[in-house]
Symmetry: C2
Subunit: 251 residues, 2 copies
């Protein structure tokens, strides 16, 4: 089987805009129930159909639907509506200077994708909380596109509490963001390979507050993300499934 | 309009079992895509159809699908499949001794339902993170059923960090649990009234670890929950919609 449909899932409009423009994607206004906030864009590259689901705006607060609840729903809707062969979750993220990250670096999630803010200290539930959703083997695409690799760690807050930091360390996480593990959970339910592409807007282990760096670097990081995302879509389109390393989930 | 279909959403099998038995609900095995873990049960009371969605088991970890990601999907699936007039999220929760809670008390969510673990210190996003999903006016049902009332506060961890506690205080939260705000978010998208019924298994502001009290009191609290949930279903079945206080979401 070849990858003929790729679903890209992104949280924020500013993150998605350069990608929409680069691929000339068109808005599909009636793809989902009109009461849902998600926005859908469709188009194609040479060897695959592309569908992009963006979280849309919260109607009361007027801000992008970031975090794991909208991401869960976006992933479910993308899968049930478009039956993708591959899901790519692309977005901006925090990196760790101590792990060699710089602003504008683009990482691809490798090994597994984990939660760092679901602490459930009951036997069996602790590991469930972390999740550890297995990624495909991304060595080839990382080398071809010049991407850094590492464990992506997900939580619903932009800041990083000491407990979050300890959990990220214990997860061997090198990228901190707010959606990937939720999407990976849904992708795992459907046994669809899922790749996370994350462009670094801020270094969470430095003194500058994340929110200041995030806002300053959002547009730059979104442009860099678009370049790598477009290249990743071309890399995967028409390639064989299942992807290497994607046979069985990690325990 | 009368309430003719009520969707009850619960996370754990042990929480749901007494309710399934009390109403003689039957498993509906093919209600959702078979790749989804959720379990559906259907039945009826005198004046309404009842559908119960339980989170089901995680296939890798073998534990109940607790937390906000499965809750989001359960709510969406219940709404799109069964078009309920009312959603009730029922489950166990932590209470605060300092707010007068005792083990086995059943609370009904009042005023609004909020998140305490989505800290996003960017203008506009902070309030989005908290969510503050408006509840219907529950005074009548609380009085009729002998329920305590209060703000329900949701997070993905069973424990309570100092920052969680501060956020719950700032939210005026009196019940701490792991699903309600996620379900309330989906219910708000569809403008369906949503009620949270929460039975207290543990007091989170005492010295006993939450996980020990939770496991010890889970069955007792689930029985108490069943009594109040069955009474609440009877109370709401056939009553008028929209419920009082449910006109427009709080800002």
């Amino acid at each position: 089987m070849k990858i003929s449909t790729i679903a890209v899932i992104m949280a924020m409009a500013d993150e998605a805009k350069p990608f929409i423009e680069a691929l000339g994607l068109k808005r599909a206004v009636s793809a989902f129930d009109s009461r849902l906030p998600m926005e859908v864009y469709t188009g194609a590259v040479e060897k695959a159909e592309i569908v992009l689901v963006v979280g849309g705006k919260d109607r009361r607060f007027g801000v992008d639907n970031v975090g794991t609840q909208p991401a869960t729903l976006s992933a479910y809707l993308a899968i049930e509506t478009f039956k993708p062969d591959l899901i790519i979750n692309a977005g901006t993220a925090g990196g760790f200077k101590s792990k060699g990250a710089d602003i504008g670096d683009v990482y691809i999630g490798s090994d597994s994708i984990r939660f760092h803010d679901r602490r459930i200290p009951i036997p069996g539930f602790s590991a469930y909380g972390v999740g550890s959703y297995r990624t495909p083997d991304v060595d080839a695409v990382a080398t071809a596109l010049g991407l850094k690799k590492g464990v992506v760690s997900t939580g619903n807050s932009l800041d990083m509490l000491p407990e979050d930091r300890l959990m990220i360390q214990s997860n061997q996480g090198v990228v901190k963001e707010m959606e990937a593990a939720a999407i990976a959970w849904v992708a795992e339910l459907y046994q669809i390979p899922m790749v996370a592409l994350k462009s670094i807007t801020d270094l969470v282990d430095t003194d500058t507050p994340t929110q200041d760096e995030f806002l300053k670097n959002l547009n730059l990081a979104s442009e860099t993300l678009q370049e790598k995302l477009t290249a990743a879509v071309d890399f995967f389109a028409g390639s064989d499934t299942p992807l290497p390393g994607d046979a069985s989930p990690a325990l």
